[in-house]
């Protein structure tokens, strides 16, 4: 390596080279990004910064929790189990297999009146609507009114795809197992005269489901015509086009059907059955008193230890009665507040002791 040391001396002694003069083409750009000097906010989680946060969380969460809890507590809810497994139950008679059409009646009393709109649910237990085989056993294009899918349903529907060499409409296990008990509610008057409580069938399904996702096969002909060449689901008594006399609630857009088709997340679930609308501001929707529930008992749950329930509930802005959210808010808020206090103490103690303690290290 022949290095002329004169050149070296220059390098050592004087300034390296005239700045900015000749092109230093390999010099990296002096930009904030390339030099990792982007302006940045650099927060540190110290006791000091976190302490106030804890108090604020506590201060915000506890009132919210109380509010939610109170709201939830104000909701009226009554649940009536009509499975009929207990011999004393009026519906016990319907369990025997040779009874074809069975109607049972259950009496109950509302201690407090239900104000505002009341929602009537049916609930099933131990019914695994979330089983994988079950969940996917449907054909959304068929339900959307697609003609091709109507006559040739998806393979996912097996073994509820064809019956008697005809495609099933609606196909699949979900549709096939549609809940078919009929529930009627009667208010028992003072004079033992019962008046039926008006139950509204519409408005129980999501609006988008009813109007977009579920559609009857298109055509001008009557519904029955449009469902020509299809078979009813095996377990159904009536074909799909006879679910309801009201044409706006018949076929695939029958709301009971749509509600059933939205598979539940957990094996114990509720589905909205009917609405009991408030009639006037003066009278409660369901005044306190005696009622009876008339059940056309069709749906078998005994084989899988299921339970059937009828639920009447009012609703707040945040849904049905569930104290969990309120309690959780109160709990987290209190813990946060408590931790804040603990931290404050530690921080305070530490500050006093640190000056002496750390110097010795």
């Amino acid at each position: 390596m022949a290095m002329n040391y004169n050149a070296k001396d220059e390098v050592d002694g004087g300034p390296p080279c005239a700045p900015g003069g000749t092109a230093k083409n390999r010099r990296p750009d002096n930009t904030a990004f390339k030099q990792q000097r982007l302006p940045a906010w650099q927060p540190i989680l110290t006791a000091g910064t976190v302490l106030p946060t804890f108090f604020i969380i506590g201060l915000i969460f506890i009132p919210i929790g109380i509010g939610i809890f109170v709201t939830s507590n104000n909701i009226r809810e009554i649940e009536i189990d009509y499975t009929g497994t207990e011999p004393s139950s009026p519906c016990n008679k319907c369990l025997s297999p040779n009874v074809t059409s069975c109607i049972c009646t259950i009496n109950f009393t509302l201690e407090q009146s239900f104000e505002g709109n009341v929602f009537m649910y049916y609930g099933l237990s131990n019914f695994y609507q979330n089983h994988r085989r079950y969940v996917k056993s449907r054909d959304d294009s068929q339900l959307n009114g697609d003609h091709g899918a109507l006559l040739n349903p998806s393979k996912e529907c097996e073994p509820y795809r064809r019956s008697e060499d005809k495609p099933i409409a609606p196909c699949g296990a979900i549709a096939n197992s549609m809940f078919n008990d009929t529930l009627e509610l009667y208010l028992v008057g003072n004079d033992s005269e019962s008046t039926p409580v008006p139950l509204k069938k519409k408005g129980i399904a999501w609006w988008t489901d009813k109007n977009v996702k579920f559609r009857n096969p298109s055509g001008d002909t009557p519904l029955e015509e449009r469902f020509k060449d299809t078979a009813k689901p095996v377990n159904w008594v009536k074909p799909v086009y006879m679910l309801d006399p009201d044409q706006d609630n018949n076929g695939f857009i029958n709301e009971d059907f749509i509600v059933w088709m939205r598979t539940a997340a957990l094996p114990t679930f509720r589905k909205l059955y009917r609405l009991i609308e408030r009639k006037s501001d003066l009278h409660p929707t369901l005044p306190a008193g005696r009622y009876y529930l008339n059940i056309t008992y069709n749906y078998p749950v005994h084989s899988f230890d299921g339970r059937k329930r009828m639920i009447l509930s009012t609703i707040s802005w945040m849904g049905g009665k569930n104290p969990f959210l309120g309690i959780a808010y109160i709990a987290i808020g209190s813990i946060s507040f408590l931790l804040g206090v603990v931290l404050l103490v530690i921080n305070h103690k530490y500050r006093n002791s640190s000056n002496t303690a750390d110097i010795t290290i």
Partner: protein, 1141 residues
């Protein structure tokens, strides 16, 4: 073609397998009895396309395929770059003699047997046997700097019969055969013979290493040479000394694989648990096949075992997302993109050479933060590879060179004005004005100076390059007039520096021809007859020359270490010089003493006779020679001493000091001489004056070596207060390593500094391997600049190449190439630290977020009869890792700076905080995993209890289904996981803000869009309006907020308590940094006096924003922080602050 035909004809060459026969210029004997052997072509291939799969193909195929493809593309790209640089070398033009003419061709076309012409200053393209040079004696000079780091000129000679063939025409007549060994890696061994056919007569000449010109060496001082290629391409000694490029894996990657195995175990056990539970559950028919959910015929009839297996596999597929496949892609991307920052760093840019740092393998970025051992080459790495004359002591007076003038140093007792120079003295000699060092005997003093520099310019083995020297003689007053025209080459850089210095002071060594040395003293030419050279050897530690001055007197000039000269002196200022020498040494200068002796003619005759006898003695020549040398080199008169600075690179001492503070052990491995190595070690701060230097050198036998080792070990244990330094040389090392590895390692580990000298390239690699496999499995880093360092660079975990003067070999084969040694500190302490933190968090976070992702899925199986029902929609499953949570972590892993880079660089001790892969220890890994699980439990059961008995969550009483439930869990998860990342982020640039909040926003927008349309190509419309309905529920909003806060609550509490109770050094440094930056950042939110935190809500709010931590915290830290007050960092910080604000 010719060769091919002959091979096809089936003439098997009657050669032994360990030799090769080379027909020079491929002129094969015409009788056709020999077939040329097939040799490989002259190509260097360092690129090797290797695709390695990061995981075993257990998890599902497609993501794996994706990962492999991305990895392969990335590695292929890097390999392609390597291939390009190979091409550059392979395509370099060379001149080959073909059929009597000179043909220009490419380097890769050189075949074994070709005669190659190499001109001055060119690099040999292959290993050549020298045939002839432009000199009559067939000698040439080469420098092997890029091979073994030695910069001196080496003389190589040709066989006399071929040396005369200096023209192409003559070469054409040569018919000769070379037989030599098969290629081997040893640079210094070559055995062969040349059979020359001349006038029908075969002359056999032995060939040794002195006639072999190695690829990579450079021709110097010789106009041109001709040589026969004997080893080409990958068979050259240079190439054989490369270790094959092995796939380097970083420690992080290794722990990543461990974690992966743990997760695989989790995955498999979850799948097994699910399968078993599924079958216990299904034992009853009412669960297996209730009336509402019948199986198909096919499902009913398939065999039990098959069903079992397929169930198990289905669970594996369901849970496989727990294995973060995307981690590999992200890590690859992070490494690839992140490595650009090294190249972009202005601090790693070397202005003088216009070099920026290069990243050759981005796989090892984080390994830079894990280094425990640094092995560094000396020449060109620690030093500039330039010697500089600094001071001298002549006749008891100390002089310093300042601007090419000698200036006496300090007030000498008998000088009236301390600032005089040799030249001024001479120039003013005529007028005799100012030179008053000792006015009473001026002439004698001048004589001393004169003699001193004559000795310096005569007593050496320096070669001079044959550039034109006409320019000399313009006048003696320009101190460095001649040196610009002269190029000196010396076996010792010190000699070169001394001769150059003498030339600057007017005594110019012009050249040695035959037996005379020509010296121009102040423009006056003097011829000295060189009578004898008494060569340097390490026992005597001195060398001398006997010359006949023009006046006829015979003089001996001796130069050597002061310990070997001073005892032999009988005259001169011995004591003063000794003091001066010690002073020089304390400054880290390399010292030599110079003395002379005048012979009477009678004395000389005896010496001449005895020398001749000794040199021609057949037995015990060495002993006899030593005796004669001893006899000659005595009764000396001391002239003075010189001090030469081996110019260290800028800030080497600071860098080594910083490395040591960071807990890194530094070893110097050099091919250089023991003395040189030790003195450089001392001057660069590798060895301290206070260190106890232990030596293990010149061990000849195994048992001696063991004994010595034991002795050293004892000394270390006896004396554990003082620091120890160890010096080992190559031969002793190989002995020590052969049998006494453990003992040796024991000694080494207890030494704070180790210096290995006289190391062969492969030996360097071997030392590193030894350290690598020692029980602690430390991470090693090798720094070097020459081709001799390539094998060690490749062996070490991280190889750093210095882009120095000795070619590009090291830089090309390194993982990172930098221009200067000092850049190492920024590379390790800042880049290494950042990359490590970034990737450690990246890895942990990925595992965490996948646990969060898949555990709810697992829990859901308990509520759906283990039917493998997915909780989330398949689009969410796919996009979770790709879109919703990928960018924040990627940006974090590219931009995060948990602490200011200036602080990192100025406090090397912070490096210890991350040593031993601390951030990826089992403890932290478990913490993240448990955190992941607990978060997952919170999402899942939070949502579960929210639904409760499946009450409605909507204000209109309508119900949600399973998809809404899954989407609720998923939404909470995406927010939590992203905010968790935000909690980890300490460096919030606008990009971080963009991707963090952007990710959450994107999730919402995407979900609204995805759920808002009936997608015609999707089979099921499960998600239609699910997300929108979810958002229309007030409870869902409250639940989401609650769950996110609860999840992060745990983490924040832990972080705060950790920081408060056991802060790490890094955390402390962060605090001090934050305090100092607060002042200028936002003074309005800073309080002048300490306040309790709950005093005012308004203040709390400001603190939540985080810009201002309460002052009382800062005060406590600043008082307690030991390095806050006495550290440079305050200075740096304040400057840094002003720049950021």
């Amino acid at each position: 073609m010719w060769r091919w035909v002959r091979q096809q004809l089936g003439f098997d060459p009657p050669h032994q397998s360990d030799t090769r026969t080379i027909y020079i210029a491929n002129r094969f004997p015409l009788n056709g009895l020999y077939t040329p052997q097939k040799f490989i072509d002259n190509r260097i291939i360092s690129s090797k396309l290797m695709i390695d799969t990061p995981t075993s193909p257990i998890t599902s195929g497609l993501p794996l395929f994706f990962v492999i493809t991305v990895t392969a593309i990335k590695q292929g790209y890097e390999d392609w770059l390597r291939h390009i640089s190979d091409n550059e070398v392979n395509a370099a033009p060379v001149y080959v003699v073909r059929s009597g003419g000179l043909v220009k061709t490419r380097s890769r076309n050189i075949r074994v047997g070709d005669i190659v012409r190499v001109a001055k200053d060119e690099v040999f393209p292959a290993d050549l046997v020298l045939l002839s040079s432009d000199r009559l004696d067939g000698s040439c000079h080469i420098t092997t700097a890029s091979l073994d780091g030695e910069t001196n000129l080496k003389t190589h000679v040709a066989v006399p019969e071929t040396a005369v063939l200096q023209t192409l025409a003559n070469l054409d007549t040569l018919i000769a055969v070379i037989e030599c060994q098969q290629p081997e890696a040893d640079l210094y061994r070559f055995m062969g013979r040349m059979i020359i056919t001349q006038q029908m007569e075969e002359i056999v000449r032995p060939l040794g290493p002195e006639s072999l010109l190695l690829r990579g060496a450079r021709l110097k001082n010789t106009k041109e040479i001709f040589g026969v290629a004997v080893y080409t391409g990958m068979e050259t000694k240079m190439a054989l000394n490369y270790k094959s490029k092995s796939q380097k894996r970083s420690a992080v990657e290794k722990s990543m694989n461990t974690f992966l195995i743990i997760y695989l175990i989790i995955l498999i056990s979850e799948a097994i648990i699910s399968t078993i539970l599924k079958y216990t559950w299904q034992a009853e028919e009412k669960w297996d096949e209730p009336w509402y959910n019948q199986k198909t015929e096919h499902q009913r009839n398939s065999s039990k075992i098959l069903k079992f297996i397929s169930d198990f596999l289905a669970f594996l597929v369901l849970y496989n997302f727990i294995i973060p496949i995307s981690l590999y892609v992200t890590v690859e991307m992070q490494k690839f993109l992140g490595s650009f920052f090294i190249g972009w760093d202005l601090d790693l840019y070397h202005e003088e050479s216009d070099q920026k740092a290069h990243v050759n393998t981005s796989d090892l970025n984080e390994e830079l933060g894990q280094v425990e051992y640094v092995f560094t080459d000396k020449t060109g790495t620690l030093t500039e590879n330039e010697m500089q004359f600094r001071e001298c002591s002549i006749n008891g007076v100390k002089y310093q060179e300042i601007n090419g003038r000698l200036v006496s140093e300090g007030p000498t007792p008998d000088s009236s004005d301390g600032n005089l120079s040799y030249f001024s003295s001479i120039s003013h000699l005529a007028t005799s004005s100012s030179f008053r060092t000792s006015p009473e005997n001026e002439t004698e003093l001048i004589k001393e100076h004169d003699l001193f520099f004559k000795a310096v310019s005569l007593c050496h083995t320096v070669q001079i390059s044959s550039v034109q020297i006409d320019g000399i003689g313009d006048g003696p007053w320009q101190s460095n007039f001649a040196s610009s025209q002269l190029e000196y080459y010396a076996s010792s850089p010190d000699e070169k520096a001394l001769v150059e210095a003498a030339a600057r002071f007017g005594i110019v060594f012009i050249g040695n021809s035959e037996e005379t040395m020509e010296v121009k003293t102040l423009g006056k030419l003097e011829r000295y007859k060189l009578l004898h050279i008494l060569e340097f050897d390490s026992d005597r530690r001195r060398m001398s020359v006997i010359v006949q001055a023009p006046s006829g007197e015979k003089l001996l000039f001796v130069k050597g270490a002061e310990s070997s000269i001073l005892p032999q002196c009988i005259g001169g200022e011995i004591e003063k010089t000794r003091i001066h020498v010690d002073e020089f040494a304390l400054k880290g200068l390399r010292t030599l003493c110079i003395a002379y002796r005048q012979f009477t003619s009678k004395e000389y005759e005896e010496i001449d006779r005895r020398l001749f006898e000794a040199r021609t003695a057949l037995q015990q020549r060495e002993e006899k020679l030593a005796d004669v040398f001893q006899f000659i080199e005595k009764d000396l008169i001391l002239l003075g001493a010189t001090a030469v600075e081996d110019k260290l690179q800028d800030k080497v001492r600071e860098t080594i000091e910083a490395l040591r503070m960071a807990g890194i052990k530094v070893w110097v491995l050099t091919g250089d001489k023991h003395e040189t190595a030790v003195s450089v070690s001392l001057s660069c701060g590798h060895f301290h004056r206070t260190m106890n230097i232990l030596e293990l050198i010149n061990q000849k036998s195994d048992s001696d070596c063991a004994e010595k080792l034991r002795q050293l070990a004892r000394r270390i244990t006896e004396d554990h207060v003082i620091q120890h330094g160890l010096v080992v040389d190559g031969t002793s090392l190989s002995l020590a390593l052969r049998e006494h590895e453990k003992l040796f390692m024991e000694v080494c580990r207890n030494c704070s500094a180790v210096l290995c000298c006289r190391m062969a390239p492969l030996q360097k690699a071997k030392v590193i391997r030894l350290i690598k496999i020692s029980p602690e499995k430390p991470i090693t880093l090798a720094v070097g600049d020459g081709a001799n360092d390539v094998s060690m660079i490749q062996e070490a975990h991280v190889g750093i190449g210095i882009m120095g003067k000795e070619g590009r070999q090291a830089a090309r084969n390194s993982d990172y190439a930098i221009a200067r040694f000092k850049f190492l500190s920024k590379l390790l302490f800042v880049h290494g630290h950042f990359y490590y933190i970034r990737i450690a968090t990246l890895v942990q976070y990925f595992f965490y977020k996948n646990v969060c992702f898949i555990t709810p899925q697992f829990l859901y199986q308990f509520y759906c009869l283990f039917s493998q029902q997915t909780l989330y929609d398949s689009v969410y499953l796919t996009l979770y890792n790709i879109c919703f949570t990928s960018l924040p972590i990627l940006i974090y892993s590219l931009l995060e700076q948990h602490i200011d880079p200036h602080v990192l660089q100025n406090k090397p001790t912070l490096y210890r905080d991350i040593s031993k892969n601390r951030q990826l220890s089992m403890k932290t890994f478990l913490y993240w995993t448990i955190l992941g699980f607990s978060h997952a439990f919170i999402f899942f059961f939070g949502s579960y209890f929210l639904i409760g008995k499946d009450t409605s969550l909507l204000g209109n009483g309508q119900m949600f289904g399973n998809w809404t439930f899954g989407t609720l869990v998923f939404t909470v998860m995406v927010i939590t996981v992203t905010v968790k990342m935000a909690l980890e982020t300490r460096f919030w640039t606008w990009i971080n803000h963009l991707v963090t909040w952007g990710s959450i926003l994107f999730y919402f927008i995407f979900s609204l869009f995805y759920g808002g349309i009936l997608w015609p190509f999707l089979g099921s419309q499960n998600m239609y309006f699910v997300f929108i309905e979810l958002l229309s529920s007030g409870s869902a909003w409250f639940a989401i907020i609650l769950m996110v806060v609860t999840c992060l609550f745990l983490d924040i509490v832990k972080k705060v308590f950790d920081r408060q109770l056991h802060p790490t050094n890094i955390e402390k440094a962060q605090l001090t940094e934050a305090n100092s930056s607060i002042k200028c950042l936002d003074s309005m939110c800073c309080f002048s006096e300490g306040e309790t935190a709950c005093a005012s809500v308004g203040r709390m709010l400001e603190r939540v924003i985080g810009r201002c931590s309460p002052t009382h915290v800062s005060r406590s830290w600043s008082a307690s922080d030991p390095f806050y007050t006495n550290d440079r960092s305050i200075l740096t910080l304040s400057t840094m602050d002003s720049s950021t604000c």
